[in-house]
Amino acid sequence: MTAVLEISGLKTHFFTHAGVVKAVDGVDFTVSKGEVMGLVGESGSGKSITGFSILGLIDQPGRIVEGSIKFNGSEIANVSEEELKKLRGNRISMIFQDPMMTLNPVLRVDTQMIEAIRAHENVSKQTAWERSRDALGLVGIPSPEERLQAYPHQLSGGMRQRVAIATAFLNKPDLIIADEPTTALDVTIQAQIIHEAQKLTKQTGTAMIWITHDLAVVAGLADRISVMYAGRIVEQGGIDDVIDRPLHPYTVGLLGSVPTANRRGQRLFQIEGMTPNMLALPEGCAFGPRCQARKAACNAQPPIEDVEGRRLRCFNPQRVAEVTS
């Protein structure tokens, strides 16, 4: 498979008055054509900032300080705004968490979709309208002609997210970054949206980065998974390896805190403590203070290494026979 996106050593830091926040601190991953990569972590682990870094949408006081982002073989980290504008919404699209917020409330659906096409291609309004209608049909919206005339408030949450997904696929991008797209939806709608996204990536060969904190979603959708903690990737590999045989204590903890039916009555596992203050990260392994498998070696920063078919950043991998299910 050809790599659509190759990120290596990406560091995005925020220079605040209180100090430097290393929101993303040395992230590497690749996403290939037609592949879904799950980017998992708690709030503040830097997963969304990674997504925004790819699109070059990091606001002051933040910036990409180091690393390379190669998209289809060419470098896009710190290139000009003009170059990035050609990519955004065209070659790389984004889907956001809250479909209530991402559609402009005063513009009709057709206006917003046609605008997205015409920002990148010089086509007539009629052609753009037809493409919008076809895209809505593709994500399973019945009578798309009618929905195109609707305002966002007239659509349900699931419908709006379908519109957002259709908009993301409008210009047949090579990569879609989905930032917690199902978090604001209820479970049945969630399943439908995941189904649509999965189907579309398989049909079009679009690569996808699915940012989420929900391991259950990732387990059913992604081909590969990267677990982030405090701005770094702690474990990365094929979905079956990581979910079935997690090695990093953090991944083990995350999987252990997913409620499942066959452990009914037992207490859920919880990871002790809080996510670390990004202004004052602990010495050595950032997960150290919360880790139950902590060793003396953990006072130093663990390097990321290849362990049992995956990338792992831990001195003391856990070999728990069965974590979930």
């Binding site: 949408l57 955004r88 984004m94 917020m101 409330p105 920002a119 399973g140 305002y151 349900s156």
Partner: protein, 307 residues
């Protein structure tokens, strides 16, 4: 795509009728009787003012039609030319009914023109401040603060004193006195809107800056602008009347409502109430009706007061 059609949640709610935000707004606006009546009164006033040359017995600006013989006649008197002066006449012999309608023409023109120009200018400045940020924003907003620390009437008075008399100069003075209110309102709203996710989403779609500002952010700022616009237009009309009353606004030969009130002021204590009271009532009716409409617009357009 057969899976979609079996999906009941999607097919359950066909869009019976597409109600645009404007239609919804209109329906909510006319729920209030007071606002509807106020809007009706305002429209009647506007209509009377527009039709003034055809429905008044006298052109008060044409000195040939005004005779001093008719001076200070009480309401209902017969004029020298034979028509009845239902509202009496002023010191110069102008039929008050005619003078009020002609005066309203000037007052409304000045009020609406300065309102629209101040709105456009303030809107542009406010948007620039909100979108540019940094030093430009600080500079613009400190000028706004500085100006808002003076009463609008004082600013207008100083401007008229510097510029001189005349309709165009009054409009300019009122624009200078009022643009800052619009700039502040637009900036505050635009700052909130700029932080919203749909702006981020539009950026992610690669849409150009100017399109985001004018097509996405600006329409979302319209609700507070409309409210401020109506209230400020009413205040521009009364501000013009104030200036004219003080003798620095419009000249005696083109009496606006303020000039008429000022003309009658000296006769108030001698029992000739009508010269000031009728123009005053016309001004009151105009300003109050606009304010009532503005007040209700605020209720309708404020999402926090939504039922």
């Amino acid at each position: 795509m057969t899976d979609a059609t079996t999906d009941s949640a999607m097919t359950a709610a066909p869009l019976a009728k597409v109600e645009t935000p404007f239609q919804r707004f209109r329906a909510e606006f006319f729920e209030s009787k007071i606002a509807t009546v106020a809007l009706g009164i305002f429209l009647i006033i506007v209509l009377l003012a527009i039709l003034a040359p055809w429905i008044t017995p006298q052109n008060p600006y044409d000195l040939a039609q005004v005779t001093i013989m008719d001076g200070r006649l009480p309401p209902g008197s017969e004029a020298f030319d034979g028509y009845t002066m239902w509202l009496g006449s002023d010191g110069a012999g102008r039929d008050l009914y005619s003078a009020i309608l002609y005066g309203l023409r000037i007052s409304l023109t000045v009020g609406l023109a300065s309102g629209v120009i101040a709105l456009l200018f303030g809107m542009a400045v406010g948007l620039i401040a909100a979108y540019a940020g940094g030093r430009i924003e600080v500079l613009i907003m400190r000028i706004v603060d500085l100006q808002l620390s003076f009463p609008a009437s004082l600013v207008a008075l100083m401007m008229v004193a510097a510029l001189g008399k005349g309709v165009d100069k009054i409009i300019l003075a009122l624009v200078i006195a009022q643009w800052a209110y619009y700039a502040r309102t637009v900036r505050a709203t635009a700052l909130v809107e700029r932080g919203k996710e749909y702006v981020e989403a539009a950026q992610c779609l690669g849409i150009s800056q100017s399109r985001i500002v004018f097509r996405h952010i600006l329409p979302n700022c319209m609700a507070p602008l409309i409210v401020v616009g109506t209230v400020q237009t009413a205040s521009a009309i009364s501000l013009e009347a104030t200036l004219s009353f003080l003798g620095v606004g419009l000249p005696q030969t083109e009496p606006s409502i303020g000039v008429l009130i000022a003309n009658g002021f000296e006769y108030m204590l001698s029992g000739r109430y009508w010269i000031s009271v009728f123009p005053g009532a016309a001004l009151l009716l105009t300003v109050v009706s606009i304010n009532l409409v503005g007040d209700h617009l605020r209720d309708v357009l404020n999402p926090r007061l939504k039922k």
